[in-house]
Amino acid sequence: MSAGVRAPIEWRKELWGSPLRGAFTLALLLLFGWAGFHAFEWAVLQAVFHPDAQACRAVPHGACWGVIAEKWRPILFGRYPYEDQWRPAVAVTLLSLTTLLSAWPRSWRWWLLPLWLVSLSAFVLLMRGGVAGLAAVATNRWGGLPLTIGLAVVGLALAFPLALLLALGRRSEWPLIRTLCATYIELVRGVPLISVLFMASFLLPLLWPAGWQPDVLVRVLAGLSLFVAAYLAEIIRGGLQAVPRGQVDAAMALGFGRWPVQRDIVLPQALRLVVPALTNNVVGTLKDTSLVAVVGLFELTGALGLALGGDPTWRPFYLEGYLFIAAVYWVLCFGLSRYSGWLERRLSSGH
């Protein structure tokens, strides 16, 4: 099967082409049927859907979706004050809509940058409050899905400019700059994200004057961006290397200076080439935000632990809780990776 054109599936031949093949198909179908029936029985037929822990305990062979019905708000919003949870809901919707809009190649125009600035400020204002009659909510009470998406989006937004500088620096004509950028990139890529998060949560407080401490969310965000930037830089470098040298020479011959060549000729082509790889990295970053649960921030994974861990009534039904947040992550990540594939086909077909 070649990459571009997909041959139509010859169902009959593939499934029942020979007696042996037919037997194999039948065995597989039976296996699927058996597994599917048991999964269906557990998840639907025997399951308890209303929030009643007593009823859940009474049926040992069925799922207890009641735990989601009971706990969906602390799972999705963490410790955010209950009556103000419409604010993170609106904030995260706003951010998602902006992301959806910028996913559409036709909207790649100059106004995207101010739109993002407005949308990000609105996100922070809604979450923080303290203006326009909204009660102030400290960052240590932020949590759940808005924190997951916020960390991923803001982390990437902060990492991108740094990554651009690192990628350009690694190809610089100046050997010291080149070494500096290469060292940074390789060092960061050689250590696990957890160690960077530990650094942000244990080590950074020592570097600041005792009176003024940035809160843990800001420190973790800084750690995340510094980490992601190293990976983004390598992707961007790949794109820069793919732009033929002749393009630079031609631009120089037309009288372009050093920076205008990069800004107007090389970067637009390079970034276009690496958009699919960047999208895959967005998926990676979204999944990586789950690690901040380890340093005590209650994003989606941490919020689940908070919602169920402290409640003996519902603690036995962790599995359903994990399946729920796994489904949330899956929808986001699968959507993004399908988008990445679509974009790759669109960009490669002469646009």
Binding site: I177, R189, G190, V191, F198, M199, L319, S337
Partner: protein
């Protein structure tokens, strides 16, 4: 501006930048030391020689609380390897099978393999790890009534017990198997694998396998169609085509990408801290909390991981040099 002057200027600017960064780092370190001193916290790596004061629940290296910190860190590194190596082996084998399965001439096999890849790699590893750990420790039967998976392989909340070769005192090679025995309270003897260890190895292996599968699939798809047709024309069987013609060429694409996956598997093993498997990061975290030496403990983590990364890159590059075309690179 003359060429020479431009070169001078470039060097001067670079030197200035480096000097600025270096002085910034020096200032930060001095400032941090000052803050530490003002809080009465000792710093330095001398604590590595002091007794650790905590126990390590499992591992290849015997350890008790009276032994020094450096030995605890060593036990942690060995535990990292103890989890990462089996996970890597399972991931490569399983991933290769699934990758080949994604190109199988049977639509159900292709669909199953694709469903596996798309499900596993779009959910964070941490969530999978926590879910597995919960299932292993809460949903399995108690150790008083373990499940017998295979003859003499027992699985329960207490972990997995399986036959293990043992060697006599002073012997080099194992002489006989030790069989786990089911008592009235638990299973004893043989190799006992803790639920923490099982969860870490399984989660790492299943997660990485989904990425390995994609790499293998891309590698096989990169071999030109004509090669397969030519092999067919020579009368090679399906398995021979794969082994003699397709795989050797596919490996050239696969190996560099696989290296990256093995590197990230090693780094991902640090997530074991979330379920309390005592590998390097868990040990460092415990030490950090008991001694307050954040900088030193994090430096140990980073140094060890950098070392492991370099080691794996080196080994895989050696292997890559063998599978690459002669005259390439």
């Amino acid at each position: 501006m003359s060429r020479r002057r431009a070169a001078w200027l470039a060097w001067a600017l670079q030197a200035l930048l480096i000097a600025a960064i270096a002085s910034g780092v020096v200032w930060l370190v001095q400032h941090a030391l000052e803050v530490l001193r003002s809080r009465g916290v000792h710093s330095g790596f001398d604590f590595l020689l002091q007794p650790a004061g905590f126990e390590i629940s499992e591992g290849w290296l015997d350890f008790d609380a009276g032994q020094p910190f450096w030995r605890a860190f060593l036990a942690g590194v060995i535990n990292t390897v103890r989890a990462a190596v089996p996970a890597a082996l399972i991931a490569v084998v399983l991933g290769t099978l699934i990758g080949i399965g994604r190109l199988a001439p049977h639509v159900l096999v292709r669909g199953l393999c694709r469903a596996y890849v798309e499900t596993i790699r779009n959910v964070p590893l941490l969530v999978q790890l926590l879910m597995l750990y919960f299932a292993l420790t809460q949903l399995l039967p108690d150790s008083t009534e373990p499940l017998e998976l295979l003859p003499d392989v027992w699985l329960s909340k207490g972990g997995l017990a399986l036959p293990w070769p043992v060697r006599e005192e002073g012997a080099w090679w194992p002489s006989h198997f030790e069989w786990p025995e089911r008592g009235s309270f638990n299973v004893s003897g043989g190799a006992a694998l803790s639920p923490e260890y099982l969860a870490v190895v399984t989660a790492l292996a299943l997660y990485t396998a989904s990425f390995v599968a994609e790499i293998v699939r891309a590698g096989i798809a990169s071999v030109a169609q004509g090669q397969k047709l030519a092999a067919q024309a020579l009368g090679l069987t399906g398995w021979q085509q794969l082994r003699i013609v397709v795989l050797p060429q596919a490996l050239r694409v696969i190996v560099p990408a696989l290296t990256n996956q093995l590197l990230s598997l090693t780094k991902n093993s640090s997530l074991a801290v979330a379920v309390g498997y005592p590998e390097l990061v868990s040990i460092a975290n415990t030490s950090l909390n008991s001694t307050g030496r954040a900088f030193e403990c994090i430096a140990v983590i980073m140094a060890v991981y950098l070392g492991l990364s370099l080691l794996i890159s080196w080994a895989m590059n050696r292997y890559n040099a063998r599978v690459a075309l002669r005259g390439w690179r």
